[in-house]
Amino acid sequence: MSIFKYASPSTFYPLAGKMAPWFAVIAAILGAAGLYLGLFRAPVDFQQGEVYRIIFIHVPTAWMAMLIYVIMAVYGVMALTFNTRLSSMMIEALAPTGVMFTVLALWTGALWGRPTWGTYWAWDARMTSTLILLFLYIGYMALVNAMDDKKRADKAGALLVIVGSANVPIIYFSVKWWNTLHQGYSVAASGSSMDASMRMPMLLMTFACWAYAIAIALWRVRAIILEREKEAAWVANLHGSASLKTSGVRA
């Protein structure tokens, strides 16, 4: 047995179905804890007041927006090198959730910016590159949906996300490379300028978003697998229709 055993849609379909609920439960528990600590336990910020609580949504969603695109690009590399259908299906399964997190990051950033900076939007490097990220997600989805030949659509889509992933480090390092309105890092590997009572809910929300994205991607890839492989024999064998097939009654 190798890891490639689960690289086929027919073996991954039941595995995804088994794993998804666990990630959903983890997401719910971590999310509830994060919201509780973030809204009720974390103290008021002495500079920003209550509005700083937006970061408990903003930072996790912005991290997810970047992370999901990077994961899509990794699947893109796998799709092109190993030619695995499942990799392309995973890219397709992740993209809508990536769009959701990118929109939320931009939306919550605007709602935080207005009372804090006095503006909903500025064409600063980080905000502009995040907007480009949104267009890259939408561009990928439009491209894959526009092509009738699924094999070609998968190849083109994988190529697009690999090329587009060059934008992610630009977003991440934008606050260092350019003089942005957006603030710099508050949390880094070298340490954090945030108090633990504020950092904890943010990290909990981040892990909740991870678990959520995994659960959703697993469920969505199941839908995609069925949509694409509905003619395949293994699909007909699912859920007890096996007897029909073996007796040759399969329509």
Binding site: G49, I54, R222
Partner: protein, 47 residues
């Protein structure tokens, strides 16, 4: 802290609840859309 104070978020209710609300709404909409998609395809393949 009482509840009306909590909901007013120091006069920043629109921004704070606009963010948390959008987050909750987006998740609910995504889950509902995905459920519809799964239902549609499982009916199609009759499993």
């Amino acid at each position: 802290m009482n509840w009306s104070e909590f909901f007013s978020m120091g006069e920043r209710a629109f921004y704070v609840w606009g963010s948390f609300g959008a987050f909750g709404l987006a998740i609910i909409v995504e889950i509902l859309l995905l459920r519809m998609r799964l239902k549609k395809v499982t009916e199609k393949v009759k499993i």
